[in-house]
């Protein structure tokens, strides 16, 4: 296991390096540099001078090497748009995103497991149909539209919940109230797909011979499901859960914009539009490290779920 882990960590470092290099080159090839956004009232000559001052006239490879050097010294640069250190900006936004995405992730996985298993065991009946309706709705509805619908219904008409942003006070109750609507959107986004995988995976296991044996032995249904079916069904589902996390992170950008939630998704969204290269690269680095780490955890969990899987 130790060798496997070391190997995977090495692979993770290579993946992060490749991703950062690819994103670095890609964003510099997109037309429209930051100097034209930052200095709209300058002459072209002055804008070009500003571009030189930002170090953007050097070759992309030289710029990338300089950026890697800064990373190794623990510096992510200064945001062009915010005039703040990128590390400070990311720190200020990461918490909000982790809170929203993390809570939605836990909620969607829990609901998917409970309702997916329930739907599989009660195929064709009311629970199964209800899960399908909600799942279809979540898959079909655009994130932006869903967010606006929730704001209009719950914040404007019913006035049960605030329409967006962080609470002005430190009250946990207020924090939960402010998180409910964006959290609901993200949870639905993830649940819609995941519950179908859980349902299908459980149905596939229901037909297996070991389930018939377990039932024939007189085991209670709850034991058959929790101790036998679920562990086998979860192996493919864990892969999807890992993919869901990536989708949540990208879905969060739109949700954060609709609900004015000051998270990393929105930060990167704004940075991309304004060609704020230091922020784009800093956020890319953080997100790629997080996603690679979570995928590693997902891979390691296979060994726990299925004793037949062992890592050398």
């Amino acid at each position: 296991m130790g060798r496997y882990l070391l190997g995977r960590l090495g692979q993770a470092a290579i993946v992060v390096a490749l991703v950062s290099f690819g994103i670095f080159m890609l964003i510099r090839s997109v037309p429209g540099g930051p100097e034209l956004i930052l200095f709209p009232e300058m002459s072209l000559e002055q804008a070009r001078a500003a571009r030189r001052g930002l170090g953007l006239e050097e070759s992309p490879l030289v710029q990338y090497a300089r950026w890697v050097g800064d990373i190794l010294r623990g510096q992510l640069g200064t945001s062009y748009i915010y005039s703040m250190p990128v590390t400070e900006l990311l720190k200020s936004r990461l918490g909000a995103t982790l809170l929203l995405v993390g809570t939605s992730f836990i909620a969607s996985v829990t609901l998917s497991l409970v309702l997916g298993v329930g739907a599989a065991l009660r195929r064709g009946r009311l629970l199964d149909r209800a899960v399908n309706v909600v799942s279809s709705f979540g898959l079909a509805a655009p994130v932006f539209w869903l967010g606006m619908l929730f704001i209009i219904v719950f914040a404007v008409v019913l006035q049960w919940l605030p329409p967006g942003g962080l609470p002005s006070s430190a009250s946990p109750v207020e924090l939960v109230r402010h998180m409910l609507l964006p959290g609901l959107v993200l949870t639905l986004l993830s649940f819609a797909e995941l519950v179908r995988y859980v349902r299908s995976a459980v149905i596939a296991q229901l037909e297996a011979a070991y389930v018939a044996t377990a039932n024939a032995k007189g085991l209670p249904p709850i034991t058959v499901v929790s101790r036998h079916i679920l562990r086998n069904a979860l192996v493919p589902v864990v892969t999807v859960i890992g993919l869901q996390l990536r989708a949540l992170v990208s879905g969060a950008a739109i949700t954060e914009t609709v609900f004015a939630w000051p998270g990393m998704g929105r930060l990167v969204f704004d940075a991309a539009f304004n060609r704020d290269y230091p922020v784009m690269m800093g956020a890319t680095l953080v997100v790629s490290v997080v996603v690679v780490a979570l995928n590693l955890i997902a891979d390691l969990s296979y060994a726990y779920l299925d004793p037949r899987i062992r890592y050398a």
Binding site: F39, N132, S136, P162, A260
Partner: protein, 534 residues
């Protein structure tokens, strides 16, 4: 095993929810605490104001000005202010001024007893530093171009400043009123220009009616009342600028009552009109929407061709359909908001496709191969218009169709805003739909002058001398006569297709009093010291 008939139920659910959504939007009630009461101003409370992005609160910023300036106007002061209705120039940090040598030298007497938020006294040194820095390329100030010809800025004594220019500057006062925020010399003199922005944004110090309190980047920016403000402590205790990037989200938050003011879209504005507790305001904005044409290209070098493109467009129809009637067809770059300079008797080019075809024919364009597209010496009349996904996106489709009817093939290229602006600003474009807001003065030399740094049209302007003369004159009537000639000439020359002047649409809850919406969405926050809430 039952069949899986979920898809039908899923579709039904979707249809039902759309119906519900449309119904609730129509039935949205007024927010609580909407008040009709007027009377004596009340002290206290927080005004919740939306901005669409993070502000950079730095006096010389060029970046994100539409988000930054509304905040800066509460923290900083300017030397003079311009009344948004009468355009009369009024004192602010400067109490009086003298025009000498025909406008080449200006002397200002400064207000006594004004303090910076850190308690230091405001003096002539602050004004001298600010204007020198504004003209200094190292600070990359928004108005650097307007002070490039300033020869000298000197403190005559602690309360008098003298400015000397290389040429007469008749339009100096409106420029000074337009976001030339006076910066504290005692703070900035110790900072190198390249570090000034990064240090300043941490804790901005101004002389304005409100002081910096808190900046939660990306969420909100809070300012609190300045008890020592020279015009008296504001009625409000604080202003909370909420960062809400999406316009629809702003409208929803306004309806929910969590913000006090909004700039809605045309459709939302029409829906908000007449709602209890909401005051809507509509007037011609300080904005011009146009299709920029790259005059350096052979396609657009002939004024007859450019005029034909303008006459082939039903701009009144575009205003009615795309803007829901909230705007007016444009004549030229002098905008109606400059009432003293806008010549009402100079009308827009009429919508006349026949006349457009005649002009194009005179310019040598004909459909020699009967493919529906005009051509000349083997070159078809075909070009690409760039733009981004804005609220005026629909105008491009209409323009494309109407130009097709006169044999012009216009392709639409939608890019993200940075790429589109990049192409446009670097003159790497054929045509581009865009808009701009001039400062408080109709001086167009920087934008439409032949050597204007922002002449992205590559337009050779025969009125360069006229523009230089107009900007040197102090008397508004004399300037207005020259600008009338300029407007007429620009209407004929059409370096860009001047589309329309959209209306400024605003809505606020009637519990908020004292707002001056006519100031425009960027400058309205300047008057927050007299705003109060129920």
């Amino acid at each position: 095993m039952s069949s899986f008939r979920g898809r039908g139920l899923g579709r039904l659910a979707m249809v039902l929810s759309v119906v519900v959504a449309l119904t609730v939007v129509a039935c949205a009630p007024a927010a609580p605490n909407a008040s009709q009461a007027t009377g004596q101003p009340k002290r206290g409370g927080t005004l919740n104001w939306p901005i669409s992005g993070n502000p950079i609160v730095y006096p010389f910023t060029q970046t994100a000005t539409v988000n930054s300036w509304p905040v800066m106007q509460t923290i900083y002061d300017v030397l003079v202010v311009v009344d948004p209705v009468s355009f009369e120039v009024k004192p602010s940090l400067a109490t009086s001024w003298k025009v000498l040598e025909g406008g080449r030298v200006w002397e200002f007497e400064l207000r006594q007893g004004v303090k910076w938020h850190d308690g230091q006294p405001f003096t002539a040194d602050d004004v001298v530093f600010t204007l020198k820095a504004t003209g200094n390329k190292d600070y990359a100030a928004f108005h650097q171009l307007y002070f490039a010809d300033m020869e000298k800025a000197e403190a005559v004594d602690a309360s008098h400043v003298r400015l000397t220019f290389t040429r007469p500057r008749g339009n100096l006062l409106p420029i000074l009123a337009y976001q030339i925020f006076i910066a504290p010399n005692h703070i900035f003199k110790n900072l190198a220009p390249k570090d000034a922005a990064t240090e300043s944004v941490k804790h901005p110090i101004g002389t304005g009616p409100f002081k910096f309190s808190e900046n939660v980047a990306g969420d909100h920016y809070t300012v609190v009342a300045n008890d020592d403000y020279f015009a008296g402590r504001p009625y409000l205790d604080s202003v909370l600028f909420k960062v809400i990037p999406d316009t629809q989200a702003q409208i929803a938050q306004f309806q929910a009552g969590t913000i006090d003011w909004v700039q809605p879209t045309s459709d939302a504005f029409n829906a908000l009109k007449g709602r209890a507790g909401i005051q809507t305001v509509q007037f011609t904005a300080n904005l011009l929407v146009l299709v920029a044409l790259n005059n350096a290209l052979p396609l657009f070098s002939d004024a007859r061709v450019r005029r034909a493109l303008a006459m082939a467009l039903d701009r009144e129809g575009i205003v009615k359909s795309v803007l829901s009637g909230n705007g007016r067809a444009a004549v030229g770059p002098i905008i109606p908001v400059f009432k003293w300079a806008y010549p009402e008797d100079v009308k827009p080019l009429a919508y006349d496709p026949q006349a457009a075809r005649r002009l194009l024919s005179e310019a040598g364009w004909s459909d020699s191969d009967n493919d529906g597209v005009l051509d000349k010496a083997g070159t078809p009349f075909r070009f690409t218009m760039v733009h981004w996904q804005s609220q005026y996106r629909g105008v491009l489709d209409v323009a494309q169709q109407q130009w097709k009817q006169v044999g012009v093939d216009a392709k639409i290229e939608i890019l993200d805003s940075a790429a589109a602006i990049g192409k446009y600003r670097s003159r790497q474009y054929e045509a581009a739909m865009t808009w701009w807001t001039p400062p408080f003065d109709p001086d167009m030399a920087n934008y439409f002058g032949t050597k204007g740094v922002n002449n992205v049209y590559n337009f050779t302007n025969p009125d360069d001398e006229l523009l230089a003369k107009a900007s040197a004159i102090v008397d508004l009537k004399e300037r207005a006569a020259l600008y009338k000639t300029f407007q007429q000439n620009m209407r004929e020359a059409q370096p860009a297709v001047f589309l329309f002047y959209p209306d400024d649409l605003q809505a606020h809850w009637t519990r908020v009093h004292g707002l001056q919406p006519e100031s425009g969405v960027v400058t309205i926050t300047r008057g927050f010291n007299v705003v109060w809430k129920e």
